[in-house]
C-alpha cells in the first residue's frame, strides 16, 4: 500500500471524479463530500510520497507504471513517475490548494452553476488530477497528455459561467492549443534526435553524444520553451488570462488562478534543469541575455495594466501576469539564489493568489460586486474576510512575516548577486505599484471619500452608508474557514520558510548553478 503512494495521488481524484459523474443521476448533494474526501486522500498520498522522497538517499522516488522495472527493461519502456523534491513540493501545493478550494466550493457552486454540481465536481477533480500528474510525471509525452487534461478541464470549468465566459474561453482554447501543440512538436524534435521519451533518458542521450549544438535540439529547445511560455500566460501571450479568470465562476477562478500558471513554471524549470541540462539551456543558448529584458517589459506592462483596473478580480489577474514575470525572471537570471527565489515564489504565490481569490469570492458574494465603488465600509461589515484578503495583499507586497517577503528577498539577492540591475529595478518598481494597488483598495474600503475626492459621510467615521449596510454580517462559514486557512498558510509558509528553502537547496545541489557571489 505504502510503496505506491505516488500512484494514489492520482487515483483518488480520478476515481472521485468518476464517482461524481456516476452520482449525476442520483442525489446532487453527495458530490461535495466525495470531492473533499478524494482530495484528502490525494493529500495523504502526497504527504506519504514526500516522506518517501526525503527518506530515500538520492532524494527521488521513481515509479514505473505497468511493472516494467528498470532492472529488466530499458528505461522508457514504461511510463515513469519521477518524483524528486521539487515535483513533490509543487504537488503538495497543488493538492493543498485543491483541498482548500474544494472545502470553499460548497455554496458558490450551488448558486452560480445550479443543477450542474456533479459535472462541476467531475471537472474540478480531473483538473486537480491533471495538475498533480504534470508535477509528478517523468515522461515527456505523458506530460503533454496531462497538460491537455488540465487544459480541457480548465476550458470546461471556465466556460460554465456566462456567455461572456464562453467568448473568453474560446480565446483561451486557441492559445492553449497553440502552446500545447508547440510543446508536442518540441518533444517530437527531441524524439527524432534522442530516440527516447523518458526525461532522464533524454538528458543522458544529450549528455552522451553532446547533441547540444545540433540544429534540431536548438529548435526543439525553442519550441518547448515558447510552448510553455504560452501556456504560462507569460507577457506577450497573456491576453486570455484576465478575461478568462474574471468571467469564470468564483470557484473556478479560485482553483485555476493559483495553480495553472505556477504548474507551468514548474514544467519550465523541470525542462531547463532536468531535461536539457543547465549548460545546454543557459550557457549555449543566448536566452539568458534577452530574457530578463523581456521579463522587465512583462512586469512593467502587467503592473501598469493592474493599476488601470477598476475591479478586484481583473486587477488580481494582471497581478498574476506580473508574478509570472517575477518567476520567469528568477529562473532566467541564471543564478543559484534566483532559482531558489523563483521556486519558493511558485509556492508562496500559489498561497497568496489563493488567499486573494477566495477573499474576492466572499466579497463578491456579500457586497454583490467586486467593483471598487461597491466596497466602502467592508472592514466593519466583514472584518475576517478583509483581514484574510489583506494578508494575501500584504504578502504580495512583501511585508515581512508573510511568505511573499521571503520569495522577494531571494529574488532580490539573486538579482544583486548576478548583477542583473534591470531585474532589481523592476522588482522595486512593481513592489511600489503593488503597494499603491493594495493601499488604494484599503483606502476605498476604509475611508468615506468618493473617487472625485469629496466627502461622502459627515466626517467622524460616518461612511455615508446606511446602518444596515455596515451591520456586521460575515460570509457563510463554509467559505470563511477556507479563507482563514489560506491566510494562515500564507503566514505559516512565511514563518517556516527556512525548512522549505533547505529542501529546495537539496534539490538544487545537483545542478551547479553559478552562485555569482565573488567575495
Amino acid at each position: 500500500m505504502m510503496e505506491n503512494a505516488i500512484a494514489w495521488i492520482l487515483i483518488f481524484p480520478l476515481f472521485g471524479s468518476v464517482a461524481c459523474a456516476i452520482l449525476r443521476m442520483g442525489k446532487r448533494k453527495i458530490c461535495y463530500p466525495v470531492a473533499v474526501l478524494s482530495m484528502v486522500g490525494a493529500l495523504w498520498g502526497g504527504i506519504e510520497t514526500l516522506m518517501q522522497v526525503v527518506a530515500s538517499e538520492e532524494y527521488t522516488v521513481s515509479y514505473i507504471f505497468g511493472g516494467w522495472t528498470l532492472d529488466s527493461y530499458p528505461r522508457g519502456v514504461g511510463i515513469e513517475f519521477h518524483a524528486d523534491i521539487l515535483s513533490i513540493l509543487i504537488t503538495l501545493v497543488v493538492l493543498g490548494v485543491g483541498l482548500i478550494v474544494a472545502l470553499y466550493s460548497k455554496l458558490p457552486v450551488m448558486e452560480e452553476t445550479p443543477g450542474k454540481e456533479s459535472i462541476f465536481y467531475t471537472l474540478f477533480l480531473l483538473q486537480v488530477t491533471g495538475l498533480a500528474g504534470i508535477c509528478l510525471t517523468g515522461d515527456a509525452f505523458n506530460l503533454y497528455v496531462l497538460i491537455e487534461v488540465a487544459a480541457l478541464t480548465g476550458y470546461g470549468l471556465i466556460a460554465m459561467g456566462s456567455k461572456r465566459a464562453a467568448a473568453a474561453t474560446f480565446n483561451y482554447v486557441i492559445l492553449g492549443t497553440i502552446g500545447a501543440s508547440l510543446y508536442l512538436l518540441g518533444v517530437g524534435y527531441i524524439y527524432i534526435k534522442t530516440g527516447t521519451l523518458n526525461m532522464v533518458g533524454i538528458h543522458d542521450v544529450i549528455e552522451a553524444n553532446n547533441l547540444a549544438d545540433s540544429a534540431t535540439m536548438q529548435v526543439a529547445f525553442i519550441l518547448v520553451v515558447v510552448g510553455i511560455l504560452i501556456k504560462m500566460a507569460f507577457f506577450p501571450f497573456h491576453a486570455w488570462l484576465p478575461n478568462a479568470y474574471c468571467n469564470a465562476p468564483t470557484v473556478t477562478s479560485s482553483l485555476l488562478a493559483p495553480l495553472v500558471t505556477k504548474v507551468m513554471i514548474y514544467v519550465m524549470i523541470r525542462m531547463l534543469l532536468s531535461v536539457f541540462g543547465v549548460d545546454f539551456s543557459f550557457e549555449l543558448t543566448l536566452w539568458t541575455d534577452f530574457m530578463p529584458w523581456l521579463v522587465v517589459v512583462a512586469i512593467v506592462c502587467a503592473a501598469v495594466m493592474a493599476l488601470a483596473q477598476r475591479e478586484i478580480k481583473r486587477m488580481l489577474a494582471y497581478l498574476i501576469v506580473a508574478e509570472v514575470g517575477y518567476m520567469v525572471g528568477g529562473v532566467w537570471i541564471y543564478n543559484y539564489y534566483g532559482m531558489i527565489g523563483s521556486i519558493f515564489h511558485v509556492i508562496s504565490d500559489a498561497c497568496m493568489t489563493l488567499c486573494l481569490f477566495l477573499g474576492a469570492g466572499l466579497i463578491l458574494r456579500k457586497a454583490k460586486t467586486t467593483h471598487f465603488d461597491g466596497l466602502r465600509g467592508l472592514f466593519s461589515k466583514m472584518p475576517l474576510t478583509m483581514t484574510g484578503f489583506f494578508i494575501g495583499g500584504f504578502s504580495i507586497i512583501g511585508l515581512p512575516p508573510t511568505c511573499g517577503f521571503f520569495s522577494k528577498w531571494y529574488l532580490i539577492t539573486g538579482g544583486m548577486v548576478s548583477q542583473r540591475w534591470e531585474y532589481l529595478v523592476v522588482l522595486m518598481f512593481s513592489t511600489m505599484v503593488m503597494v499603491v494597488l493594495f493601499f488604494r483598495l484599503i483606502e476605498r474600503i476604509h475611508l468615506a471619500v468618493s473617487e472625485s475626492g469629496e466627502n461622502l459621510g459627515h466626517g467622524h467615521g460616518d461612511l455615508g452608508l446606511t446602518e444596515e449596510q455596515t451591520r456586521f454580517d460575515e460570509g457563510p462559514l463554509s467559505m470563511l474557514i477556507p479563507l482563514i486557512l489560506a491566510a494562515s498558510v500564507v503566514l505559516i509558509v512565511g514563518i517556516y520558510n527556512q525548512d522549505v528553502v533547505n529542501l529546495i537547496k537539496i534539490f538544487l545541489a545537483e545542478f551547479n548553478l553559478p552562485k555569482g557571489v565573488d567575495y
Partner: protein, 249 residues
C-alpha cells in the same frame, strides 16, 4: 490585420525549416529514433512480453497504458465539458425551434439504415476484440459503435436514438468504461504489482503472466470502447441540439 499575423507564422516556418535539414535521412533504419533501444525493444520483445502480435496495441494498452488511460479521461472530459457548457444554456439567438418533423424519415434511408446498423455494430465488436492482431482497438471500435447510434439519429430523429441510448445512460457507460480501465489497474496493484501491471493478474487467472497481460489488454480495450462510444454519441446529441436534446439534424 491579416498581414501582421503573417510575421509570426513566417518566423515559425523559418525556424522549422532551419531544423528540417538537420533531420536524419528519411526512413533509414539507423536513424536515432528507429534504432533506439526503446523502439527496438518494443519490436523484438512485444511477442515475448505480451504475446500480442500487434505491437501498436501492445504499446498502447500495456507498455504505455497510463497514457491511454489519460487519453480515455480526455475523451470523458470532452463529453462532460460539452455537457457543462451546453446544458440549460439558452440565449437570444438560440434556435429553440420546436422540432416539427416537417419531413418524416425517408423510407429508403430508414430501411437501409435498419439493415446496416447491426452489421456496423458487429464490425465494431470485431474491430475492438481483434485489436490485438489486426489494426484497430478500443478507440476505433468505440467510434464505429458510436457512429452506428449517430446513424440512427440521422436517419430517424434524435428521440429514437435517445430511446436506444438515453443520455444519462451515456455518461454512466462512459464512467463505467474508465472504472473498468482503472479497476484493472487497481486490481493489479492490489495483487502486489505497480498500478496497471497486468502481469500480476496471473495470480488469479489460470494463465501465464504474458497471457494475463494479453487478456487484461482486451479488458482495457473494452473499457476504452465503452467510454468512446458513449462520449461520441453524447457529443453528437449535445452539439446537434444545443444541449436541449430535441430536434437534431
Amino acid at each position: 490585420m491579416k498581414k501582421i499575423s503573417l510575421i509570426p507564422v513566417l518566423v515559425v516556418g523559418v525556424l522549422l525549416l532551419y531544423a528540417a535539414d538537420d533531420f536524419p535521412e528519411w526512413g533509414n533504419p539507423t536513424a536515432p529514433a528507429s534504432a533506439s533501444s526503446l523502439s527496438s525493444h518494443f519490436i523484438s520483445n512485444t511477442g515475448v512480453d505480451t504475446e500480442v502480435p500487434n505491437m501498436v496495441t501492445a504499446v498502447l494498452a500495456d507498455y504505455r497504458g497510463f497514457d491511454t488511460m489519460f487519453e480515455t479521461v480526455v475523451v470523458f472530459i470532452a463529453g462532460m465539458a460539452v455537457l457543462a457548457i451546453l446544458k440549460g444554456s439558452s440565449g437570444p439567438f438560440s434556435k429553440n425551434k420546436k422540432y416539427t418533423s416537417s419531413i418524416e424519415p425517408d423510407l429508403i434511408v430508414t430501411n437501409t439504415v435498419r439493415l446496416l446498423v447491426p452489421v456496423i455494430q458487429i464490425f465494431s465488436f470485431y474491430v475492438l476484440a481483434h485489436g490485438h492482431v489486426s489494426p484497430g482497438g478500443g478507440f476505433q471500435g468505440g467510434v464505429v459503435m458510436g457512429a452506428s447510434f449517430i446513424m440512427i439519429a440521422l436517419s430517424w430523429d434524435l428521440e429514437t436514438a435517445l430511446v436506444r441510448f438515453p443520455l444519462d445512460k451515456c455518461f454512466l457507460v462512459a464512467a463505467l468504461g474508465i472504472i473498468l480501465y482503472g479497476g484493472i489497474g487497481l486490481l493489479s496493484m492490489f495483487l502486489g504489482g505497480e498500478f496497471l501491471d497486468y502481469a500480476e493478474l496471473a495470480n488469479i487467472l489460470p494463465v501465464s503472466r504474458e497471457m494475463a497481460r494479453y487478456h487484461a489488454m482486451l479488458g482495457v480495450e473494452i473499457g476504452v470502447g465503452l467510454t468512446v462510444t458513449a462520449i461520441m454519441f453524447a457529443l453528437y446529441a449535445n452539439l446537434s441540439t444545443e444541449g436541449k436534446l430535441k430536434g437534431g439534424l
